[in-house]
Symmetry: C2
Subunit: 141 residues, 2 copies
């Protein structure tokens, strides 16, 4: 026992499930220290650190592809902070876009719901909107 951890210990120490640790290895995000004679994965502190990094990046909404880039930058002593910043801001732009789309849905739905009686009667502007016959596909002419 030279300070090496099993997968469940690495999971507990990183907040990443054992299932996901194996998956991240599969897709090449990182490679654990080694294996025991019997084939068990063995993790050192650096591995757990990388897993926490991945976990945190996932929490911030980065995709695994983006995390691959972030890890490469992290490991590259000669990176420029400009690269990292650009990556982060690109991601922020994506998030903003997604937020705007969701907000538009919310706005529409709240508007429709506000005009719905919400009682025993069947008439409902929400269904009426969904079923609307005369929805022209954005007339450009």
């Amino acid at each position: 026992m030279s300070g090496l951890l099993t997968i469940s210990e690495a999971a507990a120490g990183s907040g990443v499930s054992a299932k996901m640790i194996r998956y991240y290895e599969d897709v090449g995000l990182f490679r654990p220290e080694g294996r025991s004679a019997g084939g068990y994965r063995l993790f050192n502190d650096k591995d757990v650190h990388a897993l926490r990094f991945i976990r945190r990046a996932r929490d911030l909404g980065f995709s695994l592809d983006e995390i691959r880039e972030l890890l490469a930058l992290w490991r590259d002593e000669r990176r420029s902070s400009a690269e990292v910043k650009a990556l982060a801001l690109r991601h922020v732009a994506d998030l903003d876009q997604r937020i705007r789309e969701l907000q538009e849905m919310v706005t529409t739905l709240r508007h429709l719901a506000r005009h719905c009686h919400g009682d025993d009667r069947p008439d409902c502007p929400i269904l009426a909107d969904l079923a609307e016959e005369a929805r022209q596909p954005k007339r450009t002419a």
Copy 2:
């Protein structure tokens, strides 16, 4: 030709791809009018109308399960608008939750990026945050 449409015509008329029309039928969202002698799906106006309904509901972010419920309510003459409204507001709450999560990510990332030089130097608070050693898992004690 008694006003029945082929799948590509139904697709063009509803904004739903032929691929998705088949899938929606598979998962039981709707059932097209019938089939030709040779097995081609044939759609009537009601079918296309239902497809537009589904399309619109997807645009508003409803899952296919939710759409299944919406379609059932739509078809039920004795529905209560209260049910529809509740379904819609539940969905709005989900969207709001998702929006809040995304906004939190954006806030954190913007804050980190603001403090990143974004030049040739490698030092970067974004990576520093991701790599942070001392991230305690929300101390409850």
